[in-house]
Subunit: 191 residues, 2 copies
């Protein structure tokens, strides 16, 4: 159940995780604290120990849109831009509630992996590409309610623990509409 960046995917990140477990220091984030802002390069990489983070971006109206999450046990960082290319992040990474994270510097992990696990980046990028591609196709091919039902079946815990606002935003719909989808579901089940 490892998640690098916000992709809910089954990638073997043990090389990276072991390094963090051995070298990380514990940091506590209050709700709303950010690991990185859009436009900043993310210098840290962590494993979530408690609480959760959301990845967000701003739309043209200046409203926050949730693009992904990192829960307990997940790796949290801006892999795609900061880790790979030393470029500023396109997203914010925000604590959804008080959260503990074991963090190390991106530079240190990069050095370690390059020396000890030279194929890590090839593997991780390829598998994340696979996942990003699947998600891209999902956006095109599936309706919001289809995606909601998949989320519920694959990650039942997620939909229960998170605020409705954030789930709706993640699905690309309004809170009001997610309520409608949920109501239709329970109504259907009651008949």
């Amino acid at each position: 159940m490892a998640r690098l960046n916000e992709f809910l995917t089954e990638i073997d990140l043990s090389a990276m995780k072991d390094y963090i477990a051995d070298n990380g220091i514990l940091k506590v984030y209050a709700k709303g604290d950010m690991i990185v802002r859009e436009g900043q390069v993310c210098r840290y990489l962590g494993i979530v120990k408690s609480g959760y983070f959301k990845y967000t971006a701003l739309n043209s109206n200046g409203n926050e849109v949730v693009t992904g999450f990192a829960f307990s046990g997940d790796i949290v960082t801006d892999y795609v831009r900061s880790f790979l290319f030393d470029q500023p992040a396109m997203v914010y990474i925000v604590a959804g509630c008080e959260a503990e994270v074991l963090i190390v510097s991106v530079d240190a992990v990069r050095r370690h992996l390059k020396e000890r696990h030279p194929h890590f980046v090839t593997e991780a990028s390829s598998r994340l590409l696979h996942e990003a591609y699947r998600r891209y196709l999902d956006c095109h091919v599936k309706s919001p309610s289809e995606r909601y039902h998949e989320l519920v079946t694959h990650n039942p815990d997620v939909t229960k623990k998170l605020p409705v606002n954030e789930v709706a935003s993640y699905l690309g719909i309004s809170r009001r509409h997610l309520n409608r989808i949920r109501k239709a579901e329970t109504d259907g089940r009651l008949q």
Copy 2:
């Protein structure tokens, strides 16, 4: 203006392209012919010499949804599933009109790159991940008309040459609605 898979991105694929230019054989596809179907592993990899291809998938109603294109000069193949993992494609690759392609086998390219350009996959996967991620964010953050306007400004030729149906499907909206967006645009310009 290289495109690996349907991602319109500026990746240096010269190593791959040079190999195809030297070893490829020319194949002609009629409109509607497929390079690969969903569920098949794609064994070929090509450079489009004339015409164009569309990447498509089926939604839950069984309707075709366009997820990307490959135009003249672009590489066309199922990189994410077939090339990387030898897994069956999640998409169809269909000739949008009569098209000529210089093709080689995926196996041959893979062997060549592994020997002569050992960093190719790391590079290509990382950059495609970057592009796939950007697109994923776009889906979340931008409205259909915002995406239409970006498409028009970045690829004006594309929107002119393609059937309206296919552009609309690629943008994730109906043909009717794309017409509305276009009309609003010209109306605005006339005032």
